[in-house]
Structures are given as C-alpha cells and as structure tokens.
Subunit: 616 residues, 2 copies
C-alpha cells in the first residue's frame, strides 16, 4: 500500500469509529442528540448532547464495550442518498435538531453557510457544489448518519482505538449556541501502533516542559506580571543563554553583524512596512502620556533593521549587509491560547536580515541553510524542510523572473545540501518564497523551527537602495532568517526533547560536588575543588548539607546533574574521584578513578565542543 | 582660601557680572525691561526684554565692551534696603514691570509665591521669612537692582568672563507669559581658568557623541521609529556589547546569576511595588486588544526580579540570592528633553538585585563597590562617591536601627575601599541609603554613573521571605546596583571621554589591513591575513579598494582604527609588517617590523586584558 493509500485507509477507519461511537452512545443514551463527528489528528471525536447529563472518563468503559459489540457484529457500512427536503424530514422524525439545522442551512444557503464544518460532515460532494439537491447518508446496523464518507466496508475493519477524554464544545463553535460534549478517541491501524502512541503520550506527559520547568526551576509565571509572560530563573536563563550563544556564534562565523534596536516604535513604521494592516490587531499599542505620538511594541524586527540599512548610502561593494539580533517581540495573543512556553506574548527571536544583490541570494541562502544544519545536528534533532513556493495566483508581489530564479536557487540548494525536503506550492508568503524547517524530537513529534524567507517587497516599501557597479540605483533582496525561531517555544521543544536531561554544555549545573560529612577539612576540600572548576568556567553546585550521602546523590539525580562527585577521605587522600555519570550519558559501566584536574578538563572539553551525548 | 571661600567668591563674581551685564545692556538699550539674573553653572545669565528687538551673538562685542567700561570704572557695590511698598513704587517709576510683578507677588503672598525663582533674586533674606516687609537692593554707578547679594566690593573684582549665547525664555518659565531673551555668560576667577574652560568646550564640541556617533557610524535615529529611541549599528553594537560583556563578567565573578524577564507587566505589579504612584506619569501604558488586562512597559526591573525570588520558598542557607540582567526599561521622557544618547526613552541597564540577610549586607555591598572600582579603573575614569544618608525627617520607611547599621556599614566600606567620598544627609531614598558614584571624564566633567542602593521597603511590599536558622520567617534586605547605569547614557559619556578613540578591546574595528594594489596575490595575502586574525577573534577590516595607499591610511585614521597594516611586496616576501599605531596609543616612535603571527597575538592579548592605553 502506498503512503497515500495507508493514510486514506486510516482516515476511513477513524471516521467509521466516529459513527460507531455515536451508535454506541445512542444505544446507551437513546435520547442523545448528535452534532458532528469528524476525523482529527491521531483519531476522531463526536459532539453529543445528552440533555444535561455529564459524561466522564468513567463512562468510557461502557461506551467502549458497546463499541466493541458493534465492531464484533461486522455490520457493513451502506451508502445511500436522499433529496435534501426528505433528509430534513428524516432529521425531524428522528429528533435530531442539530442535523436538522445543518440540513436547513444547506437547503437555504448552499455550502457557503457551512464553512465552520468539514464538508464531509454534511453528506455533500467533495467539490462543494453550492446548489445542494441531494445529500448522502451512511448506515450500519441500526445507525444512520448524514455523511459524505468514505467508510470502511464493515464495522470490524476499524483497527485499534481508545477513548481519551471529553470536553465541552459549543455547537458550531459559537458561545451563544448550546454547549455539547465532545468525546475524543484515538485510533490506529494496529494495536501495536496504538500502544506506541499511548506510550508516547505517557512519556510526553512526564516530559511536559511546564512540569519540568517547575521541577527543575527553569521559569515561572506571576499573576502580577501576567499570562504568557514567562520570567526565567537563573537555571532557565543559562539554558536560554547557552542556546542563544550557540546560535549567535554561528551568525558571527557566517559574517553577520549584531545590531540593537528598541522594543517600541511609532506606528508609522508599520504603516510604511504594511504590517499595520496585517498585524494590526495582534499589536500591543503603547500610549505615551508625554507626547501625542502613537507607539506599538514591535511584533517583528525587520522594519527596525531596515532603518539601520537606510541610514547610510550603500554600494554594491558593501553587500551583502547582514544584521542579526536576539531580541524580544511582543504579540497580543489571546489569553486562552497561552500555556507554558509553547505560546507566549514575549517572544525572543534570534532574527537576522541580510540585504543582498540578486547575484548574492544563492550564497546568502546557502550560508543560512548551513547554519540551520549545524545548529540542529548539534541539538540532536533531524530536520525536514518545506520549500514554500508560489502558485499561479496573482496575490504574489515582486518581479516574476526574480521569483522563478529564487525558487530554482532554493530547490538546487535543497538538493546540494541533501535536505530532506518537500515542495509546497501556494505556501509562499506574498512577499517571497521561503524554506520552513521542521525538527523531529526524541518522541518523534515534528516542530516548526527555523525559517529562511526571501522578501522582494519590504525593500520596495522602505525604498532601500544601493548603488550598483554601473552607477544605477538598485533595490537589494532581503533574506529573513531565524535559526531557533522563538526561543521560548524552542525551549519548550528542547526541554521535552531532552526530558530535562540537558547535555553538559546546556546543563544549568554541570557538576555537583558532594561532601560525605560536614567536617571542616572535607568542606574545605569540596569548596576548593568547586572554586577550581568555576575558574575553568564550569557551572558547579556544592552539597555540604547535613544529609546522608544517599540522599544527596538522589537530589543530584532529581536535578538531572550530568556529573556528580562524592568527596570523602579516600578522595582527599588520593586526589582522585570516581564521577557518577547521569544515566542517559553512560555508555559503559566502568567507573575508573580520575585525577580531579583530568576529570574537570574532560568536562570543560565536553562543554566547549557541545557534545550532546557522551561518556567520560 | 578654603574651597568654600573660593566658591563663595566665584559666586559673588558671577552674580556681580550679571548686574554689570544688565547695566551695560541698559546703557545700550535704555528701555530694556529686566527680568532676573541668577548665577548658573560656570557663569550667569540675565533675562531681558528689548521690546521685540532680537539680540544676536554679534551684539556681544558691544555689550562686552560696555561691561569692560563699567569694570574699569571700579564702581563699588552698595547694599541698601527699602520697605516693600516703596520698592514697588521704585519699580513702577523706573518702568520695570517684571520687577514690579515680583514685588507685588511678594507683598501679597510672601515668599511662597516665588518658588520658581532663586530667592537671591528677590532681595529676600536667605531664611525665607514669608512675611516680607523689606527687600534689599544693590547699586553700582548708575545701576540699581533688587537683589539679596552678596556681591564683590566693586565692579573691577569680577575675574574673567565671556558672553556665550542668547536664547528665548518665557518669563518665569510659563508659556503664557511674554518671551524674554536670556543672555548667558561664563565667568571664572582668572583669565587662565576661563581659557581652560573655553578650550574644554571647544574640545567637547569636537567630541560631541552625537557628532562622533554619526562620523563613526555608531547609532542612528529614525523619524519612523521615534525620538529618544536609538538604533545601534553594527559598530555601535560592538561598543555596547563589549562594555556590557565586561560589566557582566564582573557580575559572574561576583556570584551573580543572570535572569531574564519580559519588558511588560500588568500594572498590578506596580500597584504592589508602590511605583504606580511615584512613576505613574513616566510610564508607557500598553493596551492589549485581546484582553482587558492593563499593561505597562517596565520603567525598572526590581518588581519583576522580586517575582522570581518569590516563586520558591527560600532558606537562610540560600542567601544571598543575587540576580542580574542587562535589559531595557522604558521611560516616557518629554520629547524636548531627548538628545543623542544622553537621554533616551529606551534605557538599557546592567541591573542587579541581591537579596540578603541583615548580616550579609556588608559583604554584598563590599562586593559591589569592588565591581564598580574594577569597572572604572579599566575604563580609565576616576570615581567620587556620594553616600546618600537619611536626615532626621520622618519620610524614611524601614526600621531605624537597620538604617543606622547600614549607614555605618557604608561609611566603613567607603573608608576601607579608600573611596573618594562625601556624605549627603537627606539624599537617601525613602526606602534606604545609597552610594552614588560619579566618574570624571577626560575633560574633567563629572557624570553620575554607578549606584548601590539598599532597600528596606520592597521586601515588605512584596512579602519577600526566607526561613531563618531558628525557623522564623524573615524579610531579606534588597540591594539594587547598576555598574554602567544606563548603557546608552554611559556610551554618550564614554564616546566623549575617549573622543571615539576606543581602546582595542572596545574598538569596533581593531585592525585594518590595506593592500597597496588590487592585484590578485596582494589581495589574497590580505584576505588570508584577515581570515587568520578573525580566527583569533579579532575585528578586522580590509581595504582592497582602488584608492591610493595614502588615502586608505587617512581613511583608517578617520575611522580611528587602533592598528593599520599596509601589505605590499615587501610584507608578502618577509611575512613581516610594520603596524601603524593610532596616535593616542603610541608611546615611542619605533616601528619595528613584526612577524604577522606575533603582531596579531599582541593585539589579541591587548584586547583580552582590556588595556586602555598602550603601545605595541
């Protein structure tokens, strides 16, 4: 079976399970009023109205048991069509007011009314003909539902599933409508795949960055400061700084120059850039009490950087001019959308803007692809690239030959750099083509991370210029790029990717030194060793507390410290230690005694070389 | 003569010169209406109303000549008193409406009305008795003026002076009042001191950081972004970063931990901190379009840092907890007050907050004083410290014994650290005593820079706690400190202090390599040398342009590059260069040929050790 065939089959399985679940619920609650039941990522849901009775996870056992009965019965799914007026009568007769409303809307206004719903839910043809005369139904056993399909041949062909949770959902997403209950299930082709998925969820729960953020004291939120506005503790700031420093080191090595801009601007800047119309309602507006100027918090950095470019005459010899900056932008996200670091209002970006001649685009983009690859190889994440190109529509601005040339360049570079890539026609921004990079984490989940975007429009809007070799005035091409993207969001990914077991170069505490007792010579020895390590640039913790050695070692484990050294009489006499290595970094069980200098030097080297997994 | 006697004498000279200037103007414009004429820093001014005639610098020659006549005449200054009603009649008879208004106000409302004026201008006793019955006058020759004095004995005892400029000034500073002309003069006890001062002004003009900022391409402003919001170019960002990195390195060495906070907060945070009432109208308010929360741009960092402290229970063993951060605060300064980097709206601070036990205050403050000293020694600026203590008033919050102890600690530390200091009673903040550091620049001007402030109030307001050894709950003492202060303002000082001739470690371009021609082998050699230098971490510029060597060398001088190397056949054959050293860094004239490796290594060491002036 091809990938597409497999995906289609899984879709049919999940959609059939939505019917089977609704069928089972109807067996158990005969008066249930049904909403819609689409396929979603990893599974399906159905919206049901039980007339005020609240479902809970406890009910899932009963529902699942009933579903298994229906599955076992191997009832065939049969498709049939009905004229729309007849369908409305059917819904009325069966006391299904939600279905009746949908059908009425369809009859009155055609498919346009139903934009809030997957058209598959409406029993409509896929091509979305707005003159609706007939709708299709699927029937299995005693259950009939308005549906476009497709379905599996019979109820026993649905793979493996599990009901997961129930949540409130307003009918058709409108707060003024009745609240229904949305029952979610996950489903896969085989029990093994289901098991893997559930295991992954279990592991993801343990790795939840919000939980680890609290356990490892990485960041906090404050009601007084506001939601979506994380405050990074010393430990979290180390991670943030180490990731940023690494990304910045790649920038410097690639000839980027750092600039520094304020976080606010007069709104005029965005009127020139065109962002005012696009971003207007995501802007935090800033009110000056001293002047009548209207300000905003910047939601992006390019217009500011353009002002630096525009501050001097530029010659073709000066190009490419490459600015970068790690700086925070602000976006006025809805409070409901905020959670942990995945989505925040204060978004720190490792942003860059290169201004280049047309003949330099290839070199500049190639350099950026190289930087993206260097970064994610070191972070231990594999990349996939989406080449987002234009389609035939006329919404794209800028010279067509420039587009064509740039897209060909991007495609060639993807090949040359052996990127795992796919092309997405119609996914380009209106201002230029782009490469979006997705990184796969340790649990196999994909996250959008770095991006490289060409921009043919801002240079025009800001009248950016350079004097060409022939003396003519030309517009540069702009290339936007972020390697980490949003550092907050990347941290949420990276904390879960590593499960908080950070490699030495990122770990907030790289070495912990434990004293076996609180006697002065031991404590002195420990403090001296710590001072030596700090002088070497290591981040060292000391545990001289009045606890047992076992408890101290467990504490170091809880904090996921890469190396733990216990100092007692033997170590003091020999000057040798046997470092305890954090489980995930251990490749063999040999724990040889090491000279302290030698051990510390190894850790320094491991940190400097940014090794992600190693053993001593 | 004691310092105080000298200062008093200079004050009398300057004040007498104000009278003499008014006298001279009255000779030349008999209808002049006089406002007030106080002593200001380095000189004096007088506000005059010439009935619409505009003075210009061209008039200064005539006025000065007339003043010299009066001076030469050695007219004694005579003091006499007049009952206030008689004085009003005198003003009316002499057609001096401004004086008449002042005297009328005085008669009606006592001294309180005249808060906008120096009481010396009002002929009032210094102790500010609000029942005004008599006022004093001074007379010399044909000129009489309402005045408290004191004056020099006669007009020939006024030292050396020069008229500087004339500017519009509203009568008593109110826009609704008539605009007068304010004529400024500078004056010193001797011609030599005047000459020195004028030379300093000339030099300061050349060093004006706004001018150097433009010439050396360090920062720019944009009308689209707004006034008071500088954008730092790559060169300016290097200076900013180097200064910041140095300040941060001192923090790390002193055990401070970096944290990271957002630039906005709900205004609730400032209601708790108490800043809302104090800073309310300097706040940039931020409007969320998505939520009803009220936000503000942070004008200081302490309340945010307090939220990190408060996020976990703290034990006496954890203290001192020392956070630092280089971050930008925003203050809504009046547009009229903004100019260059001296006063901006986006203020980057190298801010720190230490939370400590009462018995740790001394150690923490001592560490901070040490950091301040290390910083300014390296920057080549001498420091003076003002110990700002409480007075007997009851405006100070916090335990009195804590104040006493803390002030004694500060005084002891000032002695121990051999600070050049003075005590200023009544200059403490209401929340605690502080040390304000003033640095003297190369032109002898003093600038407020670092500050160390104790705070007994915020821990109380935020209910910050730690568990003491005896199990009781205690409040920590907070110590605020900035080493550079506002980095923008410090840059304005430092650019002028160095005249843009930055030491190697700060210089945006440390070495410039010039090719004698544009032939491939020379250009290759230059590029290879540049690559080698960059690998060593040096900031290198290359000039391969089609200009004469002389012109290229002059260009390197204009950009104030510390080291310039010219590469031609001789250098390529020998592998040796004779670096040109920027004038101010040269201590002898010997320019020996140096092996390239050897030369580059010297520059690296000079940069790493942050030498401020040196020679190869």
């Amino acid at each position: 079976m091809s990938d597409q065939e497999q995906a289609d089959r899984l879709y049919a399985m999940r959609h059939s399970l939505a019917h089977i679940m609704a069928n089972a619920i109807q067996h158990l609650w005969p008066d249930v009023k049904l909403g819609v039941g689409p396929v979603v990522e990893n599974g399906f849901y159905y919206d049901v109205d039980l007339g005020g009775e609240q479902l809970s996870a406890d009910d899932f056992v009963r529902i699942e048991a009933e579903m298994h009965k229906i599955i076992k019965a191997a009832e065939p799914f049969e498709r049939f069509e009905m004229p729309i007026l007849e369908a409305i009568a059917w819904a009325r007769d069966n006391e299904q007011p939600y279905k009746e409303e949908l059908l009425n809307d369809l009859q009155r206004s055609g498919t346009t009314i139903a934009k809030d719903l997957d058209s598959a839910e409406l029993g409509l043809p896929a091509d979305g003909d707005s003159r609706v005369e007939k709708v299709s139904f699927y029937r299995n056993g005693d259950f009939t539902d308005l549906c476009r399909g497709p379905h599996v041949p019979s109820t026993d062909k649905v793979g493996a599933f599990k009901l997961m949770r129930v949540a409130g959902a307003y009918w058709r997403g409108k707060e003024s409508n009745p609240q229904m209950q949305r029952v979610y299930g996950v489903a896969f082709a085989t029990p093994k795949e289901l098991r893997q998925y559930l295991d992954m969820l279990e592991e993801a729960k343990k790795r939840d960055h919000r939980r680890l953020g609290q356990e490892l004291d990485l960041f906090v939120f404050s009601d007084l400061v506001g939601s979506g506005l994380p405050l990074f503790t010393p430990r979290g700031t180390i991670i943030r700084d180490e990731l940023t420093k690494f990304a910045e080191s790649l920038r410097y090595a690639s000839g980027f120059e750092r600039v520094a801009i304020p976080h606010i601007t007069k709104t005029e800047l965005y009127k020139v850039s065109g962002h005012w119309d696009k971003f207007g309602d995501e802007l935090f507006l800033v009110e000056s009490q001293e002047t009548s100027d209207k300000f905003a918090l910047k939601p992006m950095n390019c217009p500011h950087h353009n002002q630096i470019y525009a501050s001097r005459p530029r010659s073709y010899r000066d190009l490419p001019i490459k600015y970068f900056e790690t700086t925070t932008v602000y976006r006025d996200e809805k409070t409901g959308e905020l959670g942990g670091l995945s989505r925040v209002r204060s978004i720190s970006q490792d942003d860059s803007h290169a201004y280049c001649r047309r003949d330099q685009v290839e070199l500049v983009v190639a350099g950026l692809i190289g930087d993206v690859q260097s970064l994610y190889v070191t972070l231990g994440m594999t990349l996939r690239a989406r080449l987002s190109f234009r389609d035939a529509s006329d919404k794209y601005l800028g010279d067509a030959s420039l587009w064509e040339e740039a897209q060909a360049t991007i495609r060639n570079l993807a090949e040359e750099n052996k990127l795992q890539y796919f092309e997405a026609e119609g996914e380009a921004a209106f201002y230029g083509p782009k490469i979006d990079f997705m990184a796969t984490d340790a649990l196999g989940r994909e996250h959008q991370v770095a991006t490289v975007q060409l921009d043919f429009v801002q240079p025009e809007r800001f009248k950016l210029e350079y004097v060409a070799e022939d003396g003519s005035t030309q517009r540069p091409v702009m290339v936007h790029c972020a390697l980490l993207g949003s550092i907050e969001r990347f941290m949420s990914v990276y904390i879960e990717h590593t499960a908080g077991r950070f490699p030495v170069w990122v770990a907030p505490e790289q070495v912990r030194i434990i004293s076996v007792n609180q006697e002065a010579p031991t404590v002195d020895f420990v403090e001296k060793m710590a001072a030596q390590a700090r002088k070497l640039g290591l981040r060292v913790g000391v545990d001289n507390s009045n606890e047992s050695v076992g408890k101290k070692i467990r504490s170091a484990e809880v904090w996921k410290v890469p190396y733990t050294v216990v100092v007692g009489e033997k170590e003091m006499a020999s000057g040798e230690v046997v470092p305890r290595i954090r489980g995930d970094m251990e490749v063999d069980s040999e724990h040889e005694p090491r000279q302290i200098d030698d051990f510390l030097e190894t850790v320094v080297n491991e940190s400097k070389s940014r090794v992600t997994k190693t053993s001593l």
